[in-house]
């Protein structure tokens, strides 16, 4: 009988699941990993809940890094950020394959294997989404000079994009708010960033904009309007490159 390990939908949750499933000694073909929100139960299965354990997760990630290389580690981290119910099991299979090969770093190249291919596809999707958010995220200046940005991405990209902004806006106080997951990334002038629950928005956070904010938003809209060439109008191309779902969060598309 198959045993399904139900883990939390986060990188740590999935990696703990990998650890527990392996540790259960039921045999790789008898176990399956699933993330929590998938509520369609299967027949003839045993369900086992996985309690997320950061230590176990770190152990797994360290092993992946050591035995399968940096590329595999990155693939696992990015794939775990996707909203896809198959991801947990695919990650498990990738790790099983990687640790069985003599040269574990070859596992990510083995695209004939459906799980490896899936992880690779998910990795690309999450990477692409993160890459887009690096450009499409919009900050506004709040009272006190804090830069505040919000988004509702289908992928859990916040931890993937925050390091980029921590480097770029090192001398700024900023907050990026993932409204969908109710998470925030907070950065203080001249130091590192950290993830927090959105209810922990810093004290004194009112959401009030500074006076010059409206001026720069208007200037930016002016710029975006006049940079387009009317004779080359091509909304289909624009929509391909900048899908509509991003636009409610972007200054130049807000009325």
């Amino acid at each position: 009988m198959t045993t399904v390990f139900v883990c939390e939908d986060s990188l740590d949750g999935i990696l703990t699941g990998v650890y527990d499933a392996w540790d259960s000694r039921l045999g790789h073909e008898n176990v399956k990993l699933k993330t929590e929100e998938d509520d369609t139960m299967e027949l003839f299965c045993q369900y086992r809940a996985v309690r997320t354990d950061v230590e176990k997760a770190e152990k797994v990630l360290r092993t992946v890094r050591k035995r399968m290389g940096e590329k595999a580690r990155e693939a696992v981290c990015y794939a775990a950020a996707c909203p896809d119910e198959r991801k947990a099991d695919a990650i498990y299979r990738l790790i099983v394959l990687g640790l069985s090969l003599k040269d574990g770093s070859q596992a990510v190249n083995c695209l004939q294997n459906p799980s490896v291919l899936l992880v690779e596809k998910l990795r690309y999707k999450a990477w692409h989404e993160a890459e887009r958010m690096l450009g499409f995220l919009r900050f506004q200046e709040l009272a006190g000079g804090i830069l505040y940005a919000y988004m509702e991405p289908p992928y859990a990209v916040l931890p993937l994009i925050a390091p980029h902004f921590a480097d770029r806006l090192f001398q700024e106080n900023w907050i990026i708010h993932d409204r969908k997951r109710k998470q925030i990334a907070v950065h203080k002038i001249g130091s590192g960033w950290f993830l927090a629950d959105a209810v922990l928005l810093p004290p004194g956070f009112t959401g009030e904009q500074t006076e010059s904010e409206a001026e720069f938003q208007a200037l930016w809209k002016t710029f975006c309007r006049s940079i387009a060439i009317a004779e080359r109008r091509n909304p289909a191309c624009q929509k391909n490159l900048l899908p509509l779902r991003f636009r409610p969060f972007m200054t130049e598309f807000q009325v």
Binding site: A149, W220, C224, R232, C237
Partner: protein
């Protein structure tokens, strides 16, 4: 001209509107080529791949704050909207205004940096001094670490170009037209020599700088993201072969990072300019960009793609497909054995798929189903490849046959590749596929494409 001039104290937004509008015909808006981490005190960093921050209504990327310093100009380039005798509103930024705009836009993550070009005020050197002052202020006073692209004006003193080069990430000088004759006719104030001299200067300086960098880790960088240029397409009656040959020479001899092609846009009425009733030649521009990619990433040369008796690209097929159809003697290639360079030349296989194929086949041989998953465009590739010695289904390696099929790809994509299930109704009168299953040819890898081709011909009833 003076009557259209905007007063010095005009609203910033009005200036921005005019000067962004005047800069929109410059194509380059790339922010790639430099990787620079934040320095801990200033603002910004650079990502090697570049970042697109938005896309305008014409589908082009907005990555940089692309503006002119001024749209006042003493030149009379016939095609240019800013030429001296055009009656349009004129405006100029000040260095402070540009710095403030760049910094504030950058903080809000609107842009990757600044793209600064200009009309010619008084003379080229004077204008470049103004640009230099802006860029210097931005880098030194504001501590800006983001991307800066500066357009050099032909005829400016070498000294000022060099000084700007140490502050900018990318510089570009527009070639304007692929032929010297076109340039003479349509841009009377510019000449080929005036354009190529600073281009050569930038090239030499950055080579020297790279050597210094190898020796001293903290040597200052000169135009680290390289230089680019831009040509107008369809205004001076040039052929695609001329354009591609020029591009090839620029890549080979001048070490350019990018050559941009800009479909000619009719903004001025002039006897010397062609009328374009059908709008700008956008498809032609598209084909040129496709060919440009073939030059840079696929190992093609201009002379392979076009020739004196076929000087223009086929508008129906992309340049690579067109090339493959004229070189059927080289096909089919065996996916599991062909070299990376050979794979790159197969229509329907791009850089990414070729890399994936090369990696994946080390761990086991590949079949058509694998190729589909890897991302190969089988509807184009299937006429040119074999997997384990077999073509996907019986095809003729024959120009007319492939051409006909490529033009109607939708109907011809075999059903087993559309879905996962591989059942197909047997038909006695299937005229599209003259071979029965038993007659399917197994092409051994050793057989040359030409021999295979003749076999197929025999089988076409």
């Amino acid at each position: 001209m003076a009557d259209g001039r905007i007063a010095v104290g005009a609203a910033l937004s009005e200036k921005l509107r005019i000067l962004a509008d005047a800069a929109k015909y410059d194509v380059a808006c790339t922010s790639s080529g430099t990787a620079r981490r934040g320095n801990g005190s200033g603002l910004g960093n650079c990502v090697a791949a570049g970042i697109c921050h938005s896309f305008s209504g014409d589908g082009r990327c907005i990555s940089l704050l692309k503006v002119l310093y001024t749209n006042e100009c003493i030149y009379h380039c016939k095609y240019c909207v800013n030429r001296a005798d055009n009656d349009i509103p004129r405006a100029s930024f000040t260095p402070e205004e540009l710095c403030r705009l760049t910094m504030e836009f950058y903080r809000r993550n609107y842009i990757e940096g600044l793209f600064l070009s200009s009309g010619v005020l008084r003379n080229p050197t004077y204008t470049m001094e103004l640009i230099f002052e802006t860029v210097r202020r931005l880098r030194e006073d504001c501590g800006f670490q983001g991307y800066i692209h500066v357009k050099a004006i032909p005829g400016a003193a070498p000294d000022i170009i060099e000084r700007i080069g140490y502050l900018a990430d990318r510089m570009s000088i527009n070639l304007e037209f692929p032929t010297a004759e076109g340039l003479r006719r349509l841009a009377p104030n510019k000449s080929r020599a005036l354009i190529l001299t600073p281009m050569r200067q930038i090239q030499n300086r950055s080579i020297a700088c790279r050597e210094e960098l190898a020796r001293y880790r903290h040597a200052p960088q000169f135009v680290p993201a390289g230089q680019s240029t831009q040509m107008i397409i369809g205004a001076s009656g040039e052929t695609d072969l001329q354009i591609m040959s020029v591009a090839q020479r620029l890549y080979d001899n001048f070490g350019l990072k990018r050559v941009f092609y800009s479909a000619y846009m009719q903004v001025n009425e002039d006897r010397a300019l062609p009328a374009l009733p059908g709008g700008p030649p956008l498809l032609r521009e598209h084909r040129l960009y496709q060919a440009d990619w073939l030059l840079r990433f696929y190992g093609f040369e201009a002379g392979e793609l076009l020739s004196e008796d076929r000087p223009n690209f086929n508008m129906v097929f992309d340049p690579k497909c067109d090339w493959a159809l004229r070189h059927l003697e080289l096909f089919p290639v065996e996916i599991n054995r062909a070299s990376y360079q050979t794979l790159l030349r197969v229509p329907g296989i791009g850089v990414k798929s070729a890399q994936r194929i090369v990696k994946a086949r080390r761990l086991g041989s590949l079949d058509f189903a694998d190729l589909k998953k890897i991302g190969v465009v089988l509807k184009r590739a299937l006429y040119f490849i074999t997997c384990r010695g077999r073509t996907m289904y019986p095809v003729k390696i024959e120009e007319d046959y492939i051409t006909r099929n490529l033009l109607y790809v939708k109907e011809k994509l075999p059903p087993e590749l559309r879905g996962e299930v591989t059942y197909r109704q047997l038909s006695l009168f299937d005229d599209g596929m003259p071979l029965s299953a038993g007659e399917q040819f197994v092409l051994t890898a050793g057989e040359s494409g030409a021999a295979a081709g003749s076999l197929w011909e025999r089988s076409s009833i």
